[in-house]
């Protein structure tokens, strides 16, 4: 299924790649992309501060997302979504089974922890390679079909992976309880147990991933976590590579696949290896995400391969803006934020917030808000999906563009660009 080409009624200038010739490229990026990259780098670097805007003991601290687990999830799912977008955003091939690659990557990672040792690099390498191998096989078969038929093939493969991992493959995958470490694992290049007799934790050259420094500034508190910064660094590399890929001839070919396969074939190009290449690259991104997930939290559950997990990354990508560079990362962030923050708001928290209201009114307001938070967080998520797609057809990125256009218009009409903002 590709996005249908929407032909605009009037001729309009391009929305992409205004720089067709390199001018003052740094790091191999055009100035505009470099700006975006530095912006994202800045955000990830400062995330522990930006995500904890409320004082630690204020009632709004519930909205703080700057704790290690969630920050790690933001960037890990960001990687997953960036990779998915390389396939879906560029070629238009909608895979409904990408979670399988994340899953096998996770299993490979945990097995490395069990067999080799607790250093994260071999685990991540194994994750990426295993996911890559799986995606070569699944991609080779699935890409024989296109459109919805392709989607269903990938879905079928992933569902098979999930069903088998949950049941008959339990000796390899841990099944229902997930694959986890135990004290009796061999770990040939490391200790089976830590000095205190516990299972050792993942580390990078001896630095534990969970090591955290709490920084207190007045009423605020910020967690600086080794694992997060490691993930963030990996994500920046992944993001950088994705930008390069988007701007490369290969990326252009992928967009050409999406736009018109017939023309591509009659231009002397074979679409199949291009799409397979994109499929494998995005599968490896998923594997990387899986490897990082177990490096942060060394347990791999089969549910992360279920179709709902594959659907989640589809939703992240579309929500953020398919085919844009930053969109998938935004989408991943928003969905994970809802999952982790909104689900934890319970009635007692609500009463805490609205305590300043008179009793009757307080109960009334709590009753109104109640269905949308805590156990109702799915409802809010569903409503948000609908709102975004109805009002912002291009996803959150379009929302950002509209805002910035509005801002520019206000700040000075002379700077108003006739160009659509590039698809970032």
């Amino acid at each position: 299924m590709t996005d249908q080409t929407q032909s605009a009624p009037a001729q309009r200038p391009a929305a992409t790649s205004p720089d067709t010739r390199r001018r003052g490229a740094t790091l191999g990026l055009a100035p505009r992309d470099l700006g975006l990259f530095l912006f994202v780098a800045g955000l990830t670097l400062c995330a522990p501060f930006l995500l904890n805007p409320f004082p630690a003991d204020s009632s709004l601290a519930q909205f703080n997302a700057g704790y290690p687990d969630l920050m790690q999830r933001f960037v890990i799912f960001g990687i997953f979504a960036i990779g998915f977008n390389i396939l879906f955003g560029l070629t238009g091939y909608l895979s409904f089974g990408h979670a399988a690659f994340l899953g096998v990557g996770s299993y490979a990672g945990v097995w490395m922890f069990k067999l080799i040792g607790m250093d994260v690099l071999p685990a991540i390498a194994a994750s990426v390679i295993t996911a890559g191998l799986f995606s070569v096989v699944i991609g080779y078969v699935s890409l024989r079909r296109s459109g919805i038929y392709f989607s269903i093939l990938t879905l079928a493969f992933a569902q098979m992976c999930f069903a088998l991992a949950y049941s008959v493959l339990t000796p390899i995958t841990g099944g229902e309880t997930g694959l986890q470490l135990s004290l009796s694992d061999p770990r040939i290049l490391g200790a089976a147990a830590s000095a205190s007799g516990n299972i050792p934790v993942p580390s990078l050259f001896g630095v534990e991933m969970r090591e955290t420094t709490d920084l207190r500034l007045g009423a605020w508190s910020f967690s600086l976590n080794v694992g997060y910064y490691f993930c963030a660094a990996v994500m920046l590399v992944a993001f950088y590579l994705a930008i390069r890929l988007f701007r490369s001839p290969f990326g252009m070919m992928l967009r050409a696949v999406k736009s018109n396969q017939q023309r591509l074939y009659y231009t002397g190009l074979n679409a199949r290896p291009y799409t397979l290449g994109a499929f494998v690259i995005s599968g490896m991104y998923a594997g990387l995400a899986g490897g990082l997930m177990v490096s942060m939290d060394p347990l791999a559950g089969a549910e992360r391969m279920q179709w709902t997990a594959s659907g989640e990354v589809v939703l992240m990508t579309i929500l953020g803006g398919a085919g844009t560079l930053i969109g998938p990362v935004l989408g991943a962030g928003v969905i994970k934020y809802f999952e982790n923050i909104f689900s934890k708001l319970n009635d007692s928290v609500l009463h805490g917030w609205f305590a300043f209201l008179p009793d009757g009114l307080e109960n009334f307001v709590v009753a109104i808000v109640h269905p949308f938070v805590g156990k109702g967080w799915h409802l809010t998520l569903g409503l948000m999906f609908m709102a975004v797609v109805i009002f912002l057809p291009g996803g959150l990125v379009e929302g950002g563009q509209r805002l910035s256009r509005l801002f520019r218009r206000k700040s000075g009409p002379e700077t108003r660009s006739t160009n659509d903002t590039p698809a970032e």
Binding site: I152, V168, L381
Partner: protein, 343 residues
């Protein structure tokens, strides 16, 4: 032999549920080109129509029975259904007993209305949008519908038994000359199969023999041309959407005695119904029905002990395995048309 016949019956029964859902889905998905992730939710809402009607019929006034006490030691509150007041003990009991079949009448207008509102209010604006947007909006809608049901009915399954006349099993084997008690099959499942056959036949007859149906079929084949002829195909598609919703809803109503409905039953069927539709071939109604029955029967055979012993885990993956094999040997599924949702 009897085991095989039993599994064929099971397969036909499972298949009728798959076929009914896939039929509605393919009307929307294979013909309007809308990826409707909310279709499972329509099935679920149909089931909850039955729940709601049973609850309405059972709605009661409370009487305090001083002679008994509840678990906290307070006087027991006893519920007396209004229908018992109105129609007497036996009449009321009869209504309560027959709540599920009665819900069919109740569900049809509701489902058509829901389908109509969905199409006019939401889906209409998404015909020209990318499939990705359709997925996002219908998935969002499915979650919202699901959560609304959960809010009012809870997450637990809700027992909605079949009328007592249809409880118990029919000795199917005797008809085929087997010994008594070898092939027993529940009455309600046979009813479900017959009902599915009726609905499927009805939809086909409707499309085949009415002018309305002819226009819609022509519109499926070539929407623009029919539009050029000055026929208001949009309005007819709206009606089709209503019919698809009604088919899904009725499938849900009749399914409630088979398995107690819960708020996520739609999601459980969603993936499967997409697989069925695609295996059947995009844009083909007979394909969807055929694939529904085929997958139902294969699933039943794969769950036989002898088969599982031979290939462990086959019952976990049979549907997907078959889907992959069919799609690789037949590029457009069983009966798919060229160019529908292939891009």
């Amino acid at each position: 032999m009897d085991a095989i016949i039993l599994q064929i019956l099971n397969g036909l029964d499972k298949g009728s549920a798959y076929a009914l859902i896939a039929l509605g889905l393919t009307l929307i998905f294979g013909t309007l080109g809308v990826v409707n992730f909310a279709h499972g939710a329509l099935f679920m809402i149909g089931a909850f129509c039955a729940v709601t009607l049973s609850r309405l019929i059972e709605s009661s006034r409370t009487v305090i029975d001083e002679s008994r006490t509840d678990f906290l030691g307070n006087p027991m509150e006893v519920q007396v259904p209004y229908v018992v007041d109105w129609f007497g003990e036996s009449g009321g009991a009869f209504l309560i007993d027959w709540a599920v079949p009665l819900s069919i009448l109740f569900a049809i207008p509701i489902m058509i209305t829901i389908g109509w509102i969905m199409e006019r209010g939401l889906i209409k604006h998404f015909y020209k949008r990318p499939h990705a947007d359709q997925i996002l909006v219908t998935f969002g809608l499915a979650i919202v519908l699901q959560e609304i049901i959960k809010y009012f009915y809870g997450a637990n399954p809700i027992p909605t038994p079949a009328p007592s006349a249809f409880q118990g099993s029919f000795d199917f084997g005797v008809l085929l000359g087997f010994d008594p008690l070898t092939i027993l099959y529940p009455y309600w499942r046979l009813v479900y199969f017959a009902f599915a056959a009726l609905i499927i036949g009805g939809v086909f007859a409707f499309l085949q023999f009415t002018t309305f149906g002819m226009v819609v079929r022509a519109g499926m084949a070539d929407r623009e041309t029919v539009g050029l002829l000055g026929i208001n195909i949009d309005r007819r598609f709206t009606i089709m959407f209503g019919i698809a919703a009604a088919v899904a809803g009725l499938a849900g109503v009749m399914y409630t005695p088979i398995n107690p409905p819960n708020y996520h039953m739609g999601m459980d069927f969603l993936v499967l119904s997409f697989v069925v539709v695609v295996v059947g071939g995009m844009g083909s109604l007979p394909g969807a029905v055929l694939a529904g029955f085929l997958l139902g029967i294969l699933e039943s055979f794969a769950s036989m002990r002898e088969v599982i012993d031979l290939i462990p885990g086959i019952n976990q993956v049979i549907i997907y395995l078959v889907a992959i094999l069919i799609l690789l040997t037949r590029p457009r599924g069983l009966m798919g048309r060229k160019g529908v949702m292939e891009e």
